[in-house]
Amino acid sequence: MTEDLFQKMAQSILDGDSEIAVVLAKQAIQTGVDPLEAISKGFVVGVNQVGANFACGQAFLPELVMAGEAMKAAVATLEPEMQRRGTTRQVLGRVVLATVQGDIHEIGKTLVGTMLSASGFQVYDLGVDVPAARIIEKVKEVDADLVGLSALLTTTMVKQKEVIGELDKLGLRRKVKVMVGGAPVTRDWVQKIEADGYSEDAVGAVGLAKRLVGLD
């Protein structure tokens, strides 16, 4: 019976169907299934399958995004039950994401957020046009392992450097890894501002984040 439920959970992720994923998560709670098992034996199996399909070129980016959103919805539904049981889902790391001040370009950053959260990171997305001070504040608040900074303009890209400088001043630089992204960002730029890494797309950002927190 539970095996059947796990399979349906995996399938809901493969189908990118958030609504069904939520229904199945509720069903798990009602029938007393351990939420951590629902995640690891059910939903995550689907995430891994989509990831594998993507890696071999079968799945497209929208399928990856929808799977990520379904996963997020399922986990959010299971969250209260985990709290009630006093268990927590292990996360790969805590990531603060933002598009830097003066820049309103959102899509790349949001996509990276979806991919990271689907891969098991806890993501705090601060949105766009975010001043350095707010980013630092959040980093301290959630005890972040990673900061992701997005910029599309050469004139706003400099703000990535500013955030790194601020982290440095506060002595947080060794603890918090910084990854940067956006169309004008190049390897030279990453070296110049002494960021810890960059990726040219969202899927690459997941690999980078895992490396930066010492996985893979």
């Binding site: 070129g57 980016l61 929208p62 309103i104 706003t156 400099v158 169309a183 004008p184 040219e200 797309d201």
Partner: protein, 483 residues
């Protein structure tokens, strides 16, 4: 000596990419989007203008919903035809629907160094060099800011860039790299120095302004404020949509056209409500995101179709179009670059898009290549020639020569041949050598194109800008930098 400008005009080739019914359907969908879904205008000034004209404004979300009547009424005051002025008036560009002009692309972040061939971060000197080379070509009719002057402060970078172009070329400057009110005001002041006064600038806009929308269905606040200032002073202004299938637009082409159209049309209507009759243009560079990675593609059949379809839309609204063509996603000047840049430019030309953006880039408008710049010019020349089509009359049928030669023989010594042989296209960079000749050198278009760019840079002296004007411009920039 300023060069004459080559433009496509009086074409013989035509293409009906959308029927009038289809255009109407896209237009109706656009109005529905603007009225029911709304467009984001994150600028206090813009929201006040919309509210004053009776649009529904959600000030919290900064989203405007305007009725079809308001949009259609506003668009009626767009001037159908006007000219972009150049420092040299013989290089003015007539935006009348019967000319296709090419500009440089922008705004890149890296340059393949013209001397060393090494890829590096772009700087102000690159802006100067590219402008100087562009000044000498007959194909390039106007400038965008080709690459970012990253050695200048972010707050005044856009001003250093336009000054550099004016100092190295007499041709029109359309900047896409000024996107706040403060810089826009300073840029207009600088342009006024060249035109003589603000009033003369209105008559002779030697500067135009292009602002990117923030797809889907949004604008950038700084861009809106800059555009409003430009319109106030009669500087031609356009909003460019870069809506991309899958990511910032729907997966379908018609839907993506409607989303982009809503952004551009709503932005244009705003400028007309604020300053009725202000010169405006439509700008677009829609594309498809790569389905696997979401990456900007910079080429492909979708781009080619957008290139042709968008001019039908801008024609429907009676405003000129600045259309993204060229801008290959290829990483070096190669097979992919040739295909993408030829087809995108052909499709935008055959419908007579007024301005084409633009020559010179690799990797989706990020890396400037001088070789690509020159080869893109040749692509335009080939399309320019093709668009002239086949003229059929007594002279071109050449029956007299045909009879004189008769069966067998050849046409090499005919007077008719002598008279018309120079009508045939003569490429600069196509390899028409013998095989043996090629085998001894194994060089190709890329080498010749780069050589040409180097030669122009070494030898071409553009008509200088009055030094007093340059000094005044420096003062304007300095006063902004000291604030």
């Amino acid at each position: 000596m300023s060069k004459a400008i080559k433009s496509i005009t009086n074409p013989k080739l035509h293409l009906e990419i959308l029927t009038p019914q289809e255009v109407k359907k896209i237009h109706d969908a656009t109005l529905w989007i603007i009225e029911k879904v709304g467009v984001r205008f994150p600028s206090k000034r813009a929201l006040e203008i919309w509210a004053a004209h009776g649009a529904a404004v959600d000030s919290g979300k900064m989203v405007v919903r305007a009725k079809a009547e308001l949009i259609e009424k506003a668009l009626k005051t767009c001037p159908a035809s006007y000219s972009l002025a150049a420092r040299n008036p013989t290089q003015d560009l007539v935006l009348d629907g019967n000319h296709v002009y090419v500009g440089t692309d922008g705004c890149g972040v890296e340059v393949i160094d013209i001397l060393t061939g090494i890829r590096r971060v772009s700087c102000l000197q690159d802006v100067c060099d590219i402008a100087r080379i562009a000044d000498d070509t007959e194909e390039i009719a106007f400038h965008w800011v080709p690459v970012s002057a990253q050695d200048k402060p972010p707050g005044t970078r856009g001003l250093h860039e336009i000054k550099a172009i004016w100092e190295n070329s007499t041709k029109h400057v359309q900047t896409e790299s000024i996107y706040d009110e403060r810089e826009a005001r300073a840029a207009i002041e600088m342009a006024g120095l060249i035109a003589g006064s603000k009033e003369e600038l209105r008559q002779k806009p030697i500067l135009s302004l292009m602002q990117c929308s923030a797809s889907p269905l949004g604008h950038d606040g700084g861009s809106l404020d800059a555009a409003l200032v430009a319109s106030e002073f009669g500087i031609p202004t356009g909003f460019m949509t870069m809506a991309a299938n899958l990511t910032t637009g729907p997966a379908t082409l018609a839907g993506n056209l409607a989303v982009g159209n809503a952004e551009v049309i709503a932005g244009t209507a705003l400028l007309q409500l604020a300053f009725p009759g202000a010169p405006v243009f439509y700008a677009a560079a829609q594309t498809a995101s790569d389905p696997r990675t979401g990456a900007y593609t910079g080429g492909g059949p979708e781009d080619f179709l957008y290139g042709a379809a968008t001019n039908i839309l801008s024609d429907y609204y009676g405003i000129p179009l600045s259309m993204g063509s060229f801008a290959t996603g290829a990483k070096e000047p190669n097979w992919q670059a040739g295909i993408e840049n030829s087809l995108s430019t052909f499709m935008a030309s055959i419908v007579m898009a007024d301005m084409l953006l633009g020559v010179g880039f690799l990797h989706g408008s990020r890396i400037w290549s001088f070789a690509e710049m020159m080869m893109d010019c040749e692509i335009f020349s080939i399309i320019h020639k093709t668009m002239q089509g086949i003229v059929v009359d007594d002279e071109t049928l050449g029956l007299e020569a045909i009879a004189a030669v008769g069966p067998g023989g050849n046409f090499l010594s005919q007077k008719h041949t002598l008279k018309h042989m120079r009508d045939l296209f003569l490429p600069q960079f196509m390899d028409r050598r013998t095989y043996n000749e090629w085998e001894t050198k194994k060089d190709d278009a890329r080498d010749w194109a780069l050589d040409k760019a180097r030669k122009i840079l070494e030898t071409h002296q553009p008509e200088p800008l009055d030094e007093k004007i340059s000094l005044e411009m420096i003062k304007i920039i300095a006063s902004l930098e000291s604030k």
